[in-house]
């Protein structure tokens, strides 16, 4: 058995890759559901209903999809420039921390310095602070990579733990809410800074609109601007991009800043739209799931929206499934992880074909 590069990669193959990957994922996970002793057909039906079967299901799925769109975009932007940002999780938390630092209550009202500001301005400052925090956090590994050749997969991944411990320290120390009965959690945001609800009796908030608008914006930047062209060129072949006179270092740093800012914004949006205060369990790995979402979308910004909704639906639906048929809801994480692996294989198969030798043995 050997791999041969396909001379032409068809568009259809690239579009079908995620669909095929999802089908294979569901087949593989069906085995696990069966092993857990549940009826496969019913389990998947409940999963589907739980994720997409009702107004409530949709509202929960979209709520969950909101930060996932942003972390997915963050990963897509960075990966497109061949900067492997595995640190969206840390950037998200740092963004959330910055948001709370700017917009958090002091003695039940806005901080003294912010009290005189119109709430719109304060909101802008909060968003900017969160994005800046995320951007700076990714710029550090980007500079290390460009200057010293330090592998950014390692640095961004490990920074997640450092940031999480740092946030933990803040939530148990200077930024701890004194009224939180001893729980490590921050003060709540000033109420005016919270995002509006999109649907009544649901948790869907206007952060979703932000996220979708940004996906379209990133797509437009990629497609229509010089910066987008440069990002794609640097990601595909940095040496050729440099030869053609493109500022490779600047483009990489700007892409890192954009990626980090998007992940930081995910943190801001979670705090302002859903929780209103920061805790250490705010994100169940949104940053890591962003990698899966970006890969499923083939790094396409608008595709990220679709794949984020899909993954969110599975995560939400798995809760219902575990209640209804007694499969542990860890199955959701398994599905997402298998989806990533299937997608990697599908992407490879779109570019290569497998040949079986007639003799049945390779040299």
């Amino acid at each position: 058995m050997r791999l041969e590069a396909r001379t032409e990669v068809s568009r259809a193959a690239l579009v079908m890759a995620p669909v095929g990957a999802i089908v294979v994922t569901l087949l593989i996970c069906a085995l696990l559901v069966a092993v857990a002793g549940a009826p496969v057909g019913r389990a998947y039906l409940v999963l589907l209903e739980g994720g997409f079967g009702s107004r409530f299901a949709w509202s929960e799925t979209l709520t969950r999809a909101t930060p996932l769109i942003l972390t997915g975009l963050a990963v897509a932007v960075a990966f497109r420039t061949r900067l492997f940002n595995i640190g969206a999780e840390g950037q998200l938390y740092l963004g959330a921390l910055a948001a709370v630092a700017v917009g958090g209550q002091v003695d039940g009202a806005a901080a003294p310095w912010a009290a005189a500001l119109p709430s719109g301005v304060l909101f802008g400052l909060m968003v900017a602070a969160g994005m800046l925090a995320g951007a700076l956090l990714l710029l550090l590994p980007a500079v290390l990579k460009l200057r010293l050749g330090v592998d950014e997969v390692v640095t961004t991944l490990l920074l997640n733990f450092i940031v999480l411990l740092g946030v933990s320290m803040m939530l148990d120390g200077p930024m701890k809410d004194p009224l939180a009965m001893g729980w490590p959690q921050s003060v709540a945001l000033v109420p005016e800074l919270e995002l509006a609800r999109l649907m009544e009796r649901s948790r869907v908030h206007s952060g979703l609109l932000f996220a979708v608008a940004l996906a379209v914006l990133v797509w437009a930047v990629n497609r229509f601007t010089v910066f987008g062209l440069q990002m794609r060129a640097v990601g595909a072949n940095a040496r050729a991009a440099a030869f053609a006179g493109m500022p490779v270092t600047r483009v990489t740093l700007l892409a890192a800043a954009l990626s980090g800012a998007l992940a930081g914004l995910a943190g801001v949006v979670e705090v302002a739209g859903r929780t209103s205060y920061l805790t250490l369990d705010m994100s169940p790995g949104y940053g890591y799931t962003g990698v899966v979402i970006a890969m499923l979308a083939g790094l396409h910004p608008v595709g990220v929206v679709a794949s984020a909704v899909f993954v969110a639906g599975i995560l939400v639906g798995a809760d219902g499934m575990s209640r209804a048929v007694g499969v542990p809801n860890a199955i959701a994480d398994v599905i997402v992880a298998v989806a990533l692996l299937s997608m990697l294989v599908a992407t490879m198969l779109a570019r290569y074909r497998i040949r079986f030798d007639r003799m049945g043995k390779a040299a």
Binding site: E4, R6, T7, E8, F224, T225, V226, F227, L229, Q230, R232, A233, A236, N237, R239, A240, A241, A242, F243, A244, G245, M246, P247, D357, R358, M359, A362, A363
Partner: protein, 526 residues
């Protein structure tokens, strides 16, 4: 020479890669004591064919027989055992081992107390003297020249009992003197009854060393000719499928151009070596408007550093480099804006971004041009109009301007890069053209096209720096030639003052040499 029963017989070999039929029903015989040349352009199917023969690929159909016995497909070990040896274009030697170890690798069982080094050495010595292949068994391969490495490869194949030797583009990296010694070795090999398949696209060589010539085009065997009964023009036409006119030029003696001030001037310039890339030191050279200056040399002697220096991608660590009298920082953007047309050595790694569309690559050097960009947004309509106009003018074919650039053939990609580079100053001729191996791996038609463009650029007043390993190309195009060896450059002399022999000596590092004594000094040569 040919005898009744062939040593090697290829019957109806076919191989398909996706939509591409790389080998289409090819049948060939090789006889004892014969040199068979396999001639064809890039992509004609030569490499595919020998890779099938040697077992790297598995044919979709057909068979390979050695002495009447079929070889199992896809098994290089079986090919070796049957006496088929291959010398690849890119050598397959371990740099950190000695010549002896490289030859012995894979010939001995893994579990044995003692290697039979003494006996092996004696056999290598015997092979070396019989075939005129001087090798030092104790030398480390990493310290050998390209010609010496090639000899090691040949000895390695012979040591394993090869009776059929496949040489893939063996002369591409050699000096003229090394080519002569290779040809002498070939003579001895066939005198001893071995057979050789000689792959090349250089017609002179093919006519000289081979008995028979098999011409491949588009995956098909289009002709077999007796080498004595054919001619260069006939082979060229068979290879390309149409008549090709190579542009020629009468070199000037440089006096006219020398009167003008230098467009670019290197004064005692040094670029440090990096891992895998030799630097240059003490380089001095003036380039004048309207002249073509050729740089000859065996690859790896500092040509890459010179090309990078003149493309604005690496800075000099010492000395002075000026463009129209002004120093210029090593920022590619600045060199492009100054009107330097740059054609890099490696089109895929450096010349174009394969994943970008053709039109995006065409405007990639012009992202600061307000005609194509407004407020950071690409003006697609005008950019694409420019791109399709340029693609038309430079004859870039292969699916239009909206396909990924990597789908273009080598020739079309090179035309894209050439067109992009030559239009750095819009309608004006570039100030300086830096062309590094501009015809490497191109078919004859594309080579003629590139040559014509370089000559036109010089005629229109550009200074052209042509770095090439192809001496015929340098002799045909250059007004002056300088030779690079071990990071140093000889003075540039008028082309007429060089012979292939004197160039070869200078390429091998002979100091002074014929050229100095017989050469006509050009007044401005630095």
């Amino acid at each position: 020479m040919p005898q009744a029963s062939p040593v090697l017989r290829l019957s109806h070999i076919s191989k398909r890669f996706g939509p591409l039929l790389a080998n289409d029903d090819i049948s060939l015989d090789l006889h004892r004591g014969e040199v068979l040349a396999l001639l064809g352009e890039n992509g004609a199917g030569k490499s595919t064919l020998v890779n099938i023969l040697f077992g790297h690929y598995i044919a979709d159909g057909g068979s390979v027989e050695v002495d009447g016995v079929a070889l199992p497909p896809g098994n290089p070990r079986a090919a070796l055992a049957a006496g088929v040896g291959m010398v690849h274009q890119h050598f397959t030697l371990a740099d950190n081992l000695s010549v002896l170890d490289n030859i012995l690798i894979g010939t001995e069982p893994l579990w044995r107390w003692r290697q039979q080094r003494g006996a092996a050495q004696a056999r290598i010595h015997d092979l070396a003297t019989r075939f005129g292949l001087a090798v030092q068994p104790r030398a480390r391969v990493g310290s050998l020249s390209v010609g010496e490495r090639q000899r090691v490869e040949i000895v390695k194949a012979l040591y394993r009992g090869a009776r059929v030797l496949i040489l893939d583009e063996p002369t591409a990296v050699l000096t003229p003197q090394e080519v002569e010694s290779l040809f002498a070795t070939l003579g001895q090999l066939i005198a001893e009854g071995l057979s050789v398949i000689f792959i090349s696209h250089k017609l002179d060589e093919v006519l000289r060393v081979s008995h028979r010539v098999a011409v491949l085009r588009g995956g098909k065997l289009v002709a077999e000719r007796d080498a004595r009964a054919t001619s260069k023009p006939e082979l060229a036409e068979l290879m390309v499928g149409r008549r090709v006119e190579m542009p020629t030029r009468v070199p000037t003696n440089g006096a006219q151009q020398a009167a003008a001030p230098a467009v670019a001037s290197l004064d005692n310039v040094t670029v440090p070596s990096t891992a895998g890339r030799m630097g240059v030191s003490g380089l001095s050279l003036d380039l004048h408007a309207g002249e073509i200056v050729g740089i000859a040399g065996v690859s790896g002697n500092g040509q890459v550093a010179l090309a990078e220096l003149m493309s604005g991608t690496v800075a000099a660590s010492a000395g002075r480099l000026t463009l129209r009298g002004q120093p210029l920082p090593a920022v590619a953007r600045r060199w492009i804006d100054a009107g330097v047309a740059r054609i890099p050595e490696d089109r895929h790694a450096e010349g174009a971004v394969g994943d970008l569309l053709v039109w995006e690559n065409i405007i990639a050097e012009q992202l600061g041009n307000p005609a194509f960009v407004r407020a950071g947004v690409i003006r697609r309509a005008s950019a694409r109009r420019f791109a399709s106009e340029l693609a038309g003018r430079f004859d870039v074919r292969g699916g239009g301007i909206d396909v990924p650039t990597r789908t273009l053939s080598g020739g079309n990609m090179q035309k894209l890069i050439l067109g992009r580079a030559l239009s750095v100053r819009g309608q004006h001729t570039p100030l300086l053209v830096v062309a590094s191996q501009p015809t490497w791996g191109l078919d004859i038609g594309a080579v003629a096209y590139v040559h014509r463009q370089l000559l036109d650029a010089a005629a229109a007043g550009a200074a052209v720096l042509l770095i090439s390993e192809d001496l015929d190309e340098l002799m045909a195009l250059s007004d002056r030639i300088a030779v690079m060896h071990a990071g140093r450059l000889t003075p540039a002399r008028a082309t007429a003052a060089w012979t292939l022999g004197s160039l070869g000596l200078a390429m091998a590092g002979a100091h002074g040499g014929e050229a100095t004594r017989t050469g006509v000094e050009v007044p401005h040569a630095a």
